[in-house]
């Protein structure tokens, strides 16, 4: 279907089902039950799942296929956000021109950065992209370009926002929050079934549709001759150049495509909340997308989506846990033990979310370099082998 083979079609269908039913899957616990805390089905979070899913899918096209580890992808995300907010400021709150501009601008920036950075490979490439991203962060944080031109371009540390005296030439009587031809992003439908409550937000579904489209595009790229070429570059670039192939256009194309994905994600972040700040471009944010991709599984199709979802879910749930909640949970223990457990857990929860992130990250790299996808495959194959072993032993009994 759609030019995909059977396996890929079922993968695509899986993602479609996952994203369409996410509001139900993520709100699996009834509203008043003790587990409601673990529900992830509120609009903001779901939207972030989809947006960072797109970001990670794009990153995976570069890192997963060509093996070039960029440590500066957050720069494109930030550029996309700024471009989108500028469109809101100049035209109106319609997200379509905003998203188009953010993709285009991120694409242009990534052509420049990619063209320079891709002259080197390996660790040099990582550090070059890191240096570029930090430079863009510094430029955005103190609005250097704006100051040189005598205008406000990024609005420095305050972040770019929309003010009442902005031109917004197409605004008229239209909505005053981001919308798609009148369909407001913030709108939602709430469905209550017994004790359950499901929220179906417009903004999320828009992001989900874009996520599905991005995913479909990434499957096509993975299966195309172009994708094959990228893999060849990853496995042996020297040999590729000995056969007379100039690998630069291919890697540059991959870099720009992933930069445009990041720009789209940045534009969607601005569409969710129409402001853009420099902290989105800080290099630890670039590290975060690397974490998501690796956690899910580098070079796999579904991995980045899983990784982005897992990280964003954990970030949200874990940083919500406070001491009071922990005391409630450990109240079944004797008092001294309870306090010890809460003390231990508070290192990893609430503000300590970054600690959990670091630990998780190290564990994945050390024990599961292929990420969740590899973990799933390992489990499945063990399960299957056990079954096979069982039949084998049945057929030939022990001596």
């Amino acid at each position: 279907m759609l030019g995909l083979n059977k396996k890929d079609t079922s993968l695509l269908m899986f993602v479609v089902a996952l994203s369409l039913f996410a509001p139900i899957i993520l709100n699996i616990f009834p509203k008043d039950s003790g587990f409601a805390f673990f529900n992830g089905g509120y609009p903001d979070l779901m939207q972030r799942f989809a947006i960072f899913g797109i970001f990670a899918i794009g990153f995976n096209i570069l890192f997963g296929l060509t093996g070039y580890l960029s440590f500066g992808h957050a720069a494109f995300l930030g550029v996309g956000s700024y471009a989108a907010v500028w469109m809101f400021k100049l035209l109106n709150y319609n997200i379509l021109p905003a998203l188009i501009l953010s993709v285009v601008v991120a694409g242009l920036v990534s052509v420049v950065i990619g063209w320079i950075s891709l002259r080197r490979s390996g660790i040099y490439f990582s550090i070059l992209t890191l240096a570029f991203a930090q430079m863009m962060y510094a430029i955005a944080y103190s609005d250097l370009f704006g100051r040189w031109m005598g205008i406000t371009l990024t609005n420095g540390e305050t972040g770019l926002q929309i003010y009442n005296n902005d031109p917004q030439i197409l605004l008229g009587n239209g909505p005053t929050s981001p919308h798609l031809f009148g369909l407001e992003m913030g709108a939602r439908k709430v469905l209550s079934i017994g004790p359950w409550e499901f929220v179906f937000p417009v903004g999320y579904y828009l992001c989900a549709i874009l996520l599905i489209l991005s995913f479909y595009l990434s499957i096509r790229i993975f299966r195309s001759p172009f994708g094959l070429m990228l893999r060849a570059i990853k496995s042996n670039q020297t040999r590729m150049s000995y056969t007379g192939l100039n690998s630069k256009p291919y890697t540059l194309a991959a870099f720009v495509i992933s930069g445009m994905y990041a720009g789209l994600a940045g534009g969607l972040l601005a569409a969710m909340d129409p402001l853009a700040g420099a902290e989105r471009m800080y290099w630890t944010e670039s590290g975060a997308v690397v974490i998501m991709t690796i956690l899910g599984g580098v070079g796999t199709l579904i991995g980045p989506i899983l990784g982005a979802g897992t990280i964003k879910y954990m970030e949200n749930i874990i940083s919500k846990m406070n001491e009071k909640l922990l005391h409630d949970w450990f109240s079944f223990l004797p008092e001294s033990l309870e306090y010890a457990m809460v003390w231990l857990a508070s290192w990893f929860t609430g503000e300590g979310w970054h600690m959990t992130q670091g630990v998780l990250f190290m564990l994945v790299i050390i024990f599961l370099p292929g990420g969740l996808v590899q973990g799933g495959q390992k489990l499945a194959s063990r399960f299957r082998r056990n079954k096979a072993d069982d039949t084998a032993t049945n057929a030939t009994p022990a001596e």
């Binding site: 390996g122 660790i123 430079m135 990250f361």
Partner: protein
């Protein structure tokens, strides 16, 4: 001259920090072939060694002085550090005052321990893994170390003063025959520069003039052959890792009075130090040191008012710009050798 000299002086202290961190990074990279993103965290741990020692030395007990009263009319509570009680106010007070220089000694065992645990416990298993994996696992480690420090010391910067006698500034210009008060330079920054020069010189001398250093240099050139000669090169490289950790730690210990340590100072320095290493040429020790000072001084020149009038804010991006230009014109960096990290 009286415009240029202050900028060079200002650049020296930051340049010294870059050079010390970059030196350690290059040592680790040249010996073990590992890209260590946790090196900034070692710098930060060093700075917090200063903080810890000054806290330990300041441990006090409280006595009530009946002759004086506080504003509520109760007897005044006087805090006396134990050290002053044990060694007398003069010597004890001096010990407390000198806590930062003393932390140089205090940090040695801590940094060696941290370095050995890190190398034996984690990095050893990553020799054969791709560089991307090394970057990512040490990045994770850096996050953990940073969060540990935040958990213990809190998120705010902690002022750690230098000894009293180094608190003022030196009128450097008057010494060279300029008008007084034109070129003044804080004592501590000057000490920081000399300290780092001594450390850098020490590391080079150690590598150049000792048998151990010779074996390490041989191992950097061709690890396999040295191993075949029956030398336990792994153990020596591990020791070099510990030395690199101590160098990074010392950079942090002495930096504490210049900039109040906070938990993310390591991450802030790390990116710039990597840029320094790449500009100097991966695997080249003199390159790392030269590039450290060069970029530090360039940064301070870019923050001159005369430059700022032409291009406002250029000081914040100058290092990255220079790095990009150097990498494009000299792809191996200033002093990079052929064949290092070329794959």
């Amino acid at each position: 001259m009286d415009v240029i000299l202050p900028q060079i002086l200002n650049g020296l202290d930051k340049g010294s920090a870059y050079a010390l961190i970059a030196l350690g990074l290059t040592l680790i990279f040249g010996t073990l072939g590992v890209v260590n993103f946790a090196h900034g965290a070692l710098f930060m741990i060093g700075a917090f060694c200063s903080v810890s020692l000054s806290r330990i030395l300041n441990l006090s007990y409280v006595t009530e002085d009946p002759t004086q009263t506080d504003f509520l009319g109760k007897p005044l509570k006087v805090e006396t550090p134990y050290l002053e009680a044990w060694f007398g106010p003069e010597f004890g007070g001096a010990l407390i005052d000198w806590s930062v220089p003393l932390a140089i000694l205090f940090s040695i065992p801590i940094m060696i321990l941290v370095g050995l645990v890190m190398e034996r416990g984690l990095i050893k298993h990553f020799y054969k893994r791709p560089h991307a994996d090394q970057i990512l696992v040490t990045f994770g480690l850096a996050i953990i170390l940073q969060e540990l420090v935040r958990g213990i010391y809190g998120a705010n910067p902690i002022q750690t003063p230098a000894p009293d006698m180094f608190r003022g500034s030196i009128d450097f210009g008057a010494m060279l025959g300029f008008d007084p008060n034109v070129i003044i330079y804080p004592y501590w920054r000057m000490i920081y520069f000399f300290f780092s020069a001594v450390v850098i010189g020490g590391v080079f001398a150690f590598l150049q003039f000792t048998t151990f250093g010779m074996v390490v240099r041989a191992g950097m050139a061709d690890r396999e052959t040295v191993g075949l000669l029956g030398i336990n090169i792994d153990r020596r490289f591990t020791i070099m890792f510990a030395i690199a950790a101590v160098v990074a730690g010392w950079a942090g210990v002495m930096y504490a009075p210049i900039n109040a340590p906070n938990y993310h100072m390591g991450m802030d320095f790390l990116v710039l130090s990597f840029v320094v290493v790449v500009v100097g040429g991966m695997g080249s020790l003199p390159g790392a040191v030269a590039a450290g000072f060069l970029l530090g001084i360039l940064e301070s020149f870019a923050s001159m008012t005369a430059v700022k009038e032409i291009l406002d804010g250029i000081d914040q991006i100058i290092i990255y710009l220079v790095a990009i230009i150097i990498l494009l014109t000299r792809p191996r960096g200033l002093m990079g050798k052929k064949g290092v990290m070329e794959d």
